[in-house]
Amino acid sequence: MPDYSFIVRNASFLFDGLLLSLTLTLIGVIGGLAVGTALALVRLFTGVIGNYAVDAYVFVFRAIPLILVIFWFYFMVPLILGRPVGAWTSAIVAFTLFEGAYYSEILRAGLKSVRAGQLNAALAGGMSRAQALRYVIFPQAFAAMIPIFLTQAIILFQDTSLVFVVSLHDFLTATTIIANRDGRLIEAYAFACLVYYLICLAATAGVEKLKRTFAR
Amino acid sequence: MIEFKHVNKYYGANHVLRDVTMTVSRGEVVVVCGPSGSGKSTLIKCVNALEPYQDGHILVDGIDVGNKARSATHLRQRVGMVFQNFELYPHLSVIENICLAQRVVLKRHAEEARERARRLLDRVGLKDKEAAYPMNLSGGQQQRIAIARALALDPEIMLFDEPTSALDPEMINEVLDVMTALAADGMTMMVVTHEMGFARRVASRVVFMDMGEVVEDCSTEAFFSHPQSRSDRARLFLDKILSH
């Protein structure tokens, strides 16, 4: 007989797990955006060498699995700081730098998506380069980027489950712990599937709605 | 050969074909003209069942197009179609474009299909282009190949949906010449076009449509030579497109 009462009994433990997943997502988005913007600025202002360095950064981070990145920083951060820092700090570093690579690509594609004619039109209309960027290019690029940013955030939310490998208690890990403790694997995982499914579905629907708003 | 009997078509609340009734006989060339949105393209797409219609009947050689029980395949082998944007397959060479339907629909042998394709390429004046790809050809050449592709299935009827309106002006005549030759060979044709010169020279009848209705259906002679006896709408249309 399926029995779901243990979920109610462990609600606060599960909720804390969900909170950790969401917090890590938020940090990943903000940190990733910061790193991505920094990378984009390096690309814009440092010439060929900076460009190659950023390309290499992005290529490597996009070529290797997130789990490996998590392992890398779980091992490296304490070594660099010279003291143990715990899984949380190294996970934050890993997610921030990993997401940074993806966000810098989104930024680049967004800026590229604005047709060259738009810049020319703005310059021809007597705007300075900075004004053209500020009033013509950025608003358009931004509209193109926002939905992709958010879609990436949904992927990131799913990816936070990977902190399982360094035993951080995110939602999936918390579910696994109580599933094993109460011997209720089927019900626990069914419940976790439902929670992830509904959250991601709702978020995706929100992004779609936003896309339609921007398209108008 | 083609009979329209009280054909009605709706897109939702939009009534795009209104009680169309007319007949196209064997060997006739009927030019269908009218302002954009008048339903002329929709009308000819109903003939080979590319567009469904809700009411009435279209008979091709006595067989009802709307009969769901019959597959459209047989009908479409007998009714060739040429599109405004050519719609050649960009991933296939010219000869493969002409052979594809012969192979997969008619199940012709490769050699037979190629033989037929080469004869048709010769007929449209593009014998040397069989190995070329569509994107390397001019619009006029592409449209002539599209005509060859449609002819490869030995159709008895040819439908043309604005065959020259996507072409640069200097290429229009090469396509019209091929169509004129086809008409001279006795092909039954329905042609949606604004080329009134072609209509005057080649058409046996002109049908003028507006807002989904057949407003005029008369001989070419009557349509062009006696504008005063035409409806206001047809006269207005003719004035607009003939004034320059």
Partner: protein
């Protein structure tokens, strides 16, 4: 930072062997998963362009399930839950008699997860082919399957080739999740070497190098494929 470098240990037994078997499992997982994902994803992707409402709904639900649940959770479900739900005999065979059950479970998880992503890709590719192309095929009497096979799909494949390559790269990376159910693939092996030797830089560096190499090779393959399949364009 105080660190004793020792790249030589990677070439020593047993670590060199560990890395190579790890690489072997990674490649096997990726290819086997892809062999499930590609036919499944293509089929569902075609279903996503169907004109029948219930086919659309059903295939849409399939895609949303496999895309909205984290792969790691899907892997746990395949590993811990599915055998319990199978008929007793089959479940037992799955758990006891099937050689390398972790491997096959991971393959199923990767295959189905990736099929959902491929389905979306194929849907987008098929919809990107101009509508007139299908109409032209219809007008020459081809049936739906023929139009798809000879006219629409060849063009859609060319359109989606670059993202299709990056999906294969994703399955290679995602195969690392198999370590959570006990498949000792590349990432797991590098982790194990780090645990044994505390030489994380060398261990993770080797794994990173392998993944980067795979990505470089895939990029190369894609460029070659794109050149071969490119449609000739007027010069």
């Amino acid at each position: 930072m105080n660190y004793q470098w020792n790249w030589g240990l990677l070439l020593r037994a047993p670590y060199a062997g560990w890395l190579l078997t790890g690489l072997g499992w990674t490649v096997a997982l990726s290819i086997a998963g892809w062999l499930i994902a590609l036919p499944l994803g293509t089929t569902i992707g075609i279903a996503r362009t169907s004109s029948s409402r219930w086919v659309l709904r059903l295939s849409g639900f399939y895609v949303s399930v496999f895309r909205n649940i984290p792969l790691l959770l899907q892997m746990f479900v395949w590993f811990f839950v599915v055998p319990e739900l199978l008929p007793a005999k089959l479940g037992l065979w799955f758990k006891r008699d099937l050689p390398a059950p972790e491997f096959w479970t991971a393959v199923l998880a990767l295959g189905f997860y990736t099929s959902g992503r491929l389905a979306e890709l194929f849907r987008a590719g098929l919809q990107a082919v101009p509508r007139g192309q299908r109409m032209a095929a219809d007008a020459t009497g081809m049936n739906r399957a023929q139009a798809l096979r000879y006219v629409v799909m060849p063009q859609a494949l060319r359109i989606i080739l670059p993202p299709l390559t990056s999906e294969f790269m994703s399955i290679v990376k995602n195969s690392s999740l198999a370590l959570t159910i006990g498949v000792l693939e590349l990432t797991a092996q590098s982790r194990q070497i780090e645990n044994f030797t505390f030489h994380g830089f060398e261990a993770f560096g080797a794994a990173t190098a392998f993944y980067v190499l795979v990505a470089l090779v895939l990029n190369l393959v894609m460029v070659c494929l794109q050149r071969t399949l490119a449609l000739p364009v007027a010069v």
